[in-house]
Structure formats: C-alpha cells, structure tokens
Amino acid sequence: MIRVVLLISLVASSAVAADPPKPDKNKFVKGPAIVQRPPRDPLPLVAAIDREWLRALEAAGVPASPEADDAEFLRRACLDLSGVVPTYQQAIAFLDDDAPDKRRRLIDELLAGRGYAQHFGRTWRRLIWPPDYTMAKSGVDRVTPWLADQFYAERPWNELVTDLLTVEASMTHDPRGAFFAANSDATTIQPNRLADATGRLFLGVQIGCAECHNHPFARWKQEDFWGLAACFSRVRKVSKSDASLTESPESPGGGLGEATITVADGSGKAAGTVVPARFLGVAAAPRFDRPLRPQLAEWITSQDNSYFARAMVNRLWAHLLGRGLVNPVDDLREENPPSHPELLDRLAAEFVASDFDVKHIVRAVCLSRAYGRTSRPLPENVADVNYFSHTAVKVMNPDVLYDALHTVINADPRVRPPMKGVKPTKPIGRGKPVEVEPRDAFVRFFSRAALGDDPLQYGYGVPQMLQLLNGVQWNGGAPFLEDLSTTPAERRAAIETIHVVALSRRPTDAEVAELLTLVGDSADPREAYAGVLWVLVNGAEFVVNR
C-alpha cells in the first residue's frame, strides 16, 4: 500500500508559518503531485451494509423499492460524490455503456477525481465555517481549497481533525485556522463556542445545551460542557498583529497550572463557578504542564473514543442517503438510538480499522443495494423514512445548484463522448485560493432562505425562484443552443439533446411531444429551444437529487 502522501498545501502553509503572514492571492506554490493509494476492498463492508439494511426492512415488513435506473443512479452519484450534474458526454457514455460493472467504475472514477475533493471540501467548509460568517477580507477562500486537498490526498479523518484542533499557524491567514476563526470574534478566542462546535462536528453530540442548564435526561452536565471549553481556555493569539495561535497561561509569568474557565454570566445555575479542563466523560485530569490541545485532539480522535468514528460515518451516511442512522446527525446519545444499531457499529468499526479512510466508507455505501434503490416509493413504502426502502429526494444546496446551472449553460454536446469519464474542467484545490465572487453572492442569497442545511427541505423562496426564472444571469442564452439544428426533421433530436444536457436522461415520447408544442410553428426555433431549456432547468426535477 502506498503511504507516501505529500501535501502541497502543507508545504505551502509551513512556509507561511515561518515567514510573517503575507496574503498574496496570486501566489500559487506548486508542489509534487499527490499519490492516491489503491482502494481497500469495499465488498465485505458492502455485504454487511446490505445484510443489516435488509434485516431491518424485513423485521418492519416494509418492501424495498426496485433498483434505480441508470439515469437516476448516474445523476445521484455525480451529485452526491462530486456536487455536479453529469455533462452531456458523461450521461450519453454511461447510458449507452452495456458493461455490467459500470456503476462500480463510475463510483471509482468519481471518487478518484478532483470533483469529489472539491465537493467534500465545500461541504465541510460549510459545516466548519457556515456562509453566514464573512470570509477572509482579501476576497479569496483559502479554506475550501485546503480541505479539498485533504480529501483528494485521502488524509485520514483523525489527522485532518487533529490539524484543525491543534493549529498554531495564523487564524486569519492559514486555512487550518478555520475552525478557530469560525469560533472566535475579532479579538478573542471563544472557548464556549469551540466546545459546542467540537461536540457537534467531531463527536456528534449536542453538548451546547449544557452551556446554560443541566438537561434532566441528557448525559452531559454543565461541568462537562465548561470542562471541554476550559481545554481551549489557554489558547491566545500571539499578538494583536499576529493571529498565530499559542497556548499560554492566564496570568503573565505564571506557569502552566491547572487550566480552568469561569462559567459565563447568564449560564444558569453554574454561572460564576470555576471549572477545570476535562475531556467529555473522562474523570481523570489532562496533564496541565503541557499544551492541552494536542491531548484533547488525541483523546477525540482515539480509536477508543466511541463517538468520533460514529459521528463521521453517521454524517457520511446522511450525506449519501439524505438521513442519518441517527437524527439529528449531531445528536448521538443513548436516548436517541440509531435506526440500524449494528450497521452504525459496523461502519464505525470499519472506519477505525481503515485508519479513518473517508473514501472507503463512502465507496462501500455507494455500492450497497440500499444506496442503489430508486427514490420512487411503492404504495407500501411511501410512508417509510426510517428503513431506507427508497432513497430520499434531496435538494441541491446553493453551491451545487450554482455549479449545475453553469454546467448546463456551458454544455457542449458537439464534443464526442469519450469512452471513460470526463475530467472535471476547472478543479479547485492544489493550494490555490479561489475567488469568492460571484459564487459567494449566489450562495449567500440562496442560503438566506434555505432551511438550515436539511437536504430534505426545499428552502428556497420566491425571491430566489424569481432570480432563476427571470434573472439575466441564467437567461442570457446557452451557446450550445445555437449549434442545434432548426430544420423541422431534426427538432426532435434537438429537444432530446437539450433534455440530456439539463436532466441527464433521454426524454420519453410523451415528454418530447409536450416540449415540441413550445417549438410548434415558431418563427424562431432557437428562441423556442431557449424556452425548452428554461422549462427543464426550472422544473422540480432539475433542482432535486433523486
């Protein structure tokens, strides 16, 4: 197994750490290529997933929907793994491929690509640093490319999380500082917000409720929350002008004594009490004579920590299936049991055994029968949400919708479909900062209205719909329409092409007939083609991942 994984952006950022931080968005340090390791054999895990999935369905007496058809599977896999809709070429190549292993090959190709890294990087950027927070003032996003690099290089999840928790580089200029930057204000590190985010993101527990009160039934008490917060209480910025992070004692000149935190005013009964640093549910104190963050990171990412692996595999399952094995995905606790306990255990054990290999878990889930169902319900399973009898219909998030619209507008069906998958056109990552406009403007406008991050809710409102229906951004014409034949004999083929570009599937005869009415005896068939594209892009089918 190849274990030489060189991270160009790490090289770049350690250089930054040595020099005074100097943001330069044009600087692009090119490093050696990243070598991906050959995939682990996913099939034993696939079999285990299907066994547990089927067992739960049978026990509940709920029938599974049939397997998804090729078009459904292709679009779903592309959206889930790369966050982009298939190109015309990808769609035709996949639909016309007769090989029995084409779904396996599709998953492997998608996971090996930059698109996967980009999509998972964006997804985690949103989680770590939600779009409500204003991004770096320099107008570039360094966090998403860095995260993308980690996913591309197959960085083990425990290492990535350790980086985020123990970062010593600049909070404002180094992408690894994102987690701290998102949970700080302009002048101070906020230990309570860091504790809350650590719980939700990396441990899958909502200890934030224990900030202000002891919940009568929940395991976590106020001292648990504030004990975790105290683990961040010594973190400081080096100076006003240097946002590098260091751990230093409360009082200048004092040694590294016991790290404590005073429970904030307004935080219920415990307000004003002094709580020493503790890891969640661990009675023993950490060693106070050395930095706490590395000890915390070691405890969080330990193979023995029952929350760490479960939290991530549950999130990955939810990302792919629309719903976690535990819901909400960050609420792992005894009183909120998983829908498939053995399956969650098995995925977590496999995640640990694979050295926290994210791709390995994703690959196995994507190859399972559970993932491969159609999302069309049967009358007998239409009410089921717990057993994954049919897959969920998810809504594109603003980032994905933005890319999907661009893919369609910039489609070029004249290029012959290659036999293998198409390389993504404009990859991000490789340490290169990405310009945040105009994508961020779109994402901000569409995030405003989105219902949290629940992929099962269509959260876009009337103003967002009006931009899609009428905005000049999306209605300025798609160049490929100019190349389509307007002769009456070839209009049907033109409609089929537009349909494949927009929806990655060939239309039925009835659909063609319906869309042809828009062309009719139009004096300007190209204008009518634009109308066909408008209808397809603004329909419900386009914006969902089914």
């Binding site: 969920a392 209205a449 319906e514 109308g531 969902v544």
Partner: protein
C-alpha cells in the same frame, strides 16, 4: 386543458384558467367558521415587529426609575399619555401614543435560549414537542385568513435577524404554501419580476413547466417537490400582479416615507403598511441586535430604540389615517427579556421570568397596562402571561379560534394553540 387549447386563449383567460387548473392550485373558500363565536371586533391582518435577540424590558416599556443604579441602568424614564405609566426616555413618540397601546408587562415564559425561545414565541410550541414541526404565527395567519389564490404572498418577512430566518418563516406542518416570502432589504424593489420572454411566451412555458412538475410530483411523493411547485406558482402569480408594486418603496411620497425614519426598520414598517394595504395578511419586520450582554451591544441598541420609536409610532399614525388600524393587529415582541441586574460587562443577560410585549390596533383596547412586575422587575406580581395565553390572545384578536384542531401529516390533530392557552380577556375589554 391541453396546451394547444391554452395557446388559443388570451393571456388573462389563460392565467385565470391556469392558476386554478394547470398550476394545480386548490381554490377553496378561505376560512372555516370558528367553532366558538368570534369576537365582535377583530383584525383581518397582522404586523409583527420582531425584536431579535430579546430587548430589555427595563430599557423599553417597563422602566424602574426608583430602583438602584445596578437595576435602573443608564437611561431615564419619561411620562406617557397614560397617567402613571412611564416608558424609557428613548421612546418619546410612542409615549405620546400610549393610549393606542396595550402593554403586557407580565410576560413570564420559560425558555431563555435564543433558538428555543424564538421558536416558542413564534409557534406557541416548544421546539421538538410531540415530534412535530409547528407553523410560525405568520403561517397560521396565512392558512386561516389568507387566500390560497392571492396574487401576493399571504406572509412576508423583511429585515435581518441574527441567524437564519427559519424560526420566522417555517410553515411547519401547514406546508410550503403557507411559507414566507423573505424580502431582506425593504428599500430595494423585489427583483426579477419581469420575464425575459414575452408575456404570452412566458405563459406557454410556465404551463408546460407546471404540467411536467405535476407529473414529476405524482411519481416522486416527496416534500421538496411539493415545496418547489408551491414556490414556483407563487412566483408566477406575483409576476402577474399589479399589486407587486407595493414592494417598491420608490412609489411612496418622500414626505410620508421620511416620518418612518432613516433606518432599515422604518423602511420595513413602511413596507408593512404598503403590503397590508394591498391585502397581505401577515408581515413580520425584523430588527436586531437586542442581545445586549455587553456594553458595546447596549450602546448599539440605542439606535435600535430610536428606530423603533419612529417606525412603530408612524405605523400607528399611518394605519389610523388610512382607516386600517382597526383591522390590523400590531405585535411588538422579542424572544425574552433581560436580567434586572446589570452584569459586570455593563449589559444584561437573558431573562424569561418577567418581561414585556406590546399590542396595538385591530381588536385591542389601547391605553392599558396588563400585568405588573415587582420593584426591580425580577418577578411578575399581577396577571402573569405565558406563551400559550399570549398566542391565544393574538389568535382571538385575529378572529382565529385558538382551539381549532389542525390535521397534521402524521395523522394527529393539533390545536392551533396548545391546550390550556386562554386569551387575555382584558386586552379586548
């Protein structure tokens, strides 16, 4: 109706036909008769002035000028049009209009976390209660008083909140057709109302789209598909509506606009008036940040107070001048109050035990104070009001039966206001 037939119809005819038929709208009589006799005088629509973050009752409508400086705070109290009733000095215009206001000084709720309290105050149910997602008040009003075929949305939200809007906009089990139109900046016209294609061409395309959506929805019984259809239909209706001009404040004479104050909140109040004038059932104008834990936020809130004084007072006058105040319920509220004692950072923390909300307009008898707090504002001494009673009061003012049961998607009937909620009779006396 098939597409070819639609093409032969004129635009107006097509729209009328399509809005009822092709777009799949259920045009039904808007509100069922309440099971109890409705109050004689009720509002037909509602404007909520949402104070995001939780304003201090002591620094707004329940000042304690006699208390020690650590309770009193730095602002003085002033007399109002009501003998013996004082407001904070930052509300001179509202003080002169106190005879139009009903102050609920006995608010006593039990959620002091922003997220939970915001949802509680908007829905009347605690988050997660009974495993359901409850509709916010705007969605209830939209469903009960709005018209499902109205050209403008029945429920509009404007202004900015500290976080995402879900707690203001989520229609819960009332479904996406009662969701809010969120128009962040009142001073900008609603964009993209004009179709790129000609009206006839747009109508043809929209009809095909609606037909395809209906077919897709029939194959995939999925909530997001239904929601997308609802938003599409709402958008198309809005594009066709002359009344959409109400969103454009540039049509307002400069003089009447100026009285609302040069602040986003004032412009939000003006937009609210313009919208209720053209029949929108519910408008929520959001103003933050009232989360005054620290000195700098306290100082920032001074500007919010001035904005509220100008915006709220002018809204009262303007609606009264137009004969709309008796038909419009106005609610001023946040998610909770603040601690009576000023903390060591020069601010006040969350406090749900004793705080104040204000009602005015349709159905409400102005010029009264309901509820009384003790000398430091720490406890309610008379007429405590919980969230259920508060919600029931708003419903009654709007002629909505709070006990009416609504069927939820999980097949369980749920009353509009949780069991036990009783309207505050004094409000209407």
């Amino acid at each position: 109706m098939n597409v070819a037939a639609q093409l032969k119809l004129g635009r107006r005819t097509w729209l009328q036909a399509s809005l009822g038929g092709v777009l799949g709208l259920a045009v039904k009589s808007s509100s069922a008769a309440p099971s109890q006799p409705a109050p004689l005088r009720t509002a037909k629509r509602c404007i909520v002035l949402w104070m995001d973050g939780g304003p201090s009752q002591l620094d707004t409508f329940d000042p304690k000028p006699e208390a020690g400086s650590n309770v009193r705070g730095e602002l003085d109290a002033i007399d109002t049009a009501l003998p013996g009733v004082q407001f904070c000095e930052k509300f001179p215009q509202l003080a002169r209009r106190a005879n139009r206001l009903a102050l609920l000084r006995g608010m006593s709720t039990d959620e002091a976390d922003h997220g939970r309290a915001r949802t509680y105050m908007h829905t009347g149910y605690k988050p997660g209660q009974g495993g359901l997602s409850y509709p916010v008040l705007g969605a209830v009003v939209s469903a009960e008083l709005g018209r499902s075929d109205a050209a403008l949305p029945n429920f509009v939200v404007t202004g900015s909140t500290l976080n995402k809007y879900d707690f203001v906009t989520d229609p819960g089990f009332r479904g996406p057709r009662n969701g809010a139109l969120v128009h962040d900046y009142a001073d900008r016209p609603l964009e993209n109302l004009q179709a790129a294609a000609s009206a006839d061409e747009f109508a043809r395309r929209a009809a095909v789209l609606a037909q395809r959506n209906a077919e897709f929805a029939a194959r995939y019984h999925a909530p997001p598909v239904e929601a997308q259809r609802a938003v599409f239909e709402q958008s198309v209706r809005l594009m066709q509506a002359d009344a959409a001009r109400a969103f454009d404040l540039s049509h307002e004479p400069a003089k009447s606009a100026a009285a609302y104050g040069d602040h986003p909140f004032g412009r939000g109040c003006l937009l609210a008036r313009r919208l209720v004038e053209v029949g929108v059932s519910f408008v929520e104008v959001s103003l933050g940040n009232w989360d005054t834990h620290e000195k700098n936020v306290v100082e920032g809130a001074l500007a919010l107070m001035a904005a509220v004084d100008a915006g709220f007072a002018t809204l009262l006058d303007d609606l009264a001048d137009r004969g709309l105040l008796d038909e419009t319920l106005i609610v001023w509220m946040g998610e909770f109050g603040r601690t009576p004692t000023v903390n060591r950072n020069g601010g006040r923390d969350h406090y749900a035990k004793a705080w104040t909300t204000v009602l005015a307009g349709g159905g409400v008898r102005g010029g009264q104070v309901i509820g009384r707090t003790d000398a430091t504002g720490a406890a309610v001494l008379e007429r405590p009001t919980n969230v259920r009673d508060f919600q029931a009061t708003l419903c009654r003012a709007l002629g909505i039966d709070p006990q009416k049961k609504i069927m939820t998607p999980i097949g369980r009937e749920v009353p509009i206001v949780d069991v036990g909620g009783m309207p505050i009779a004094e409000v209407f006396g």
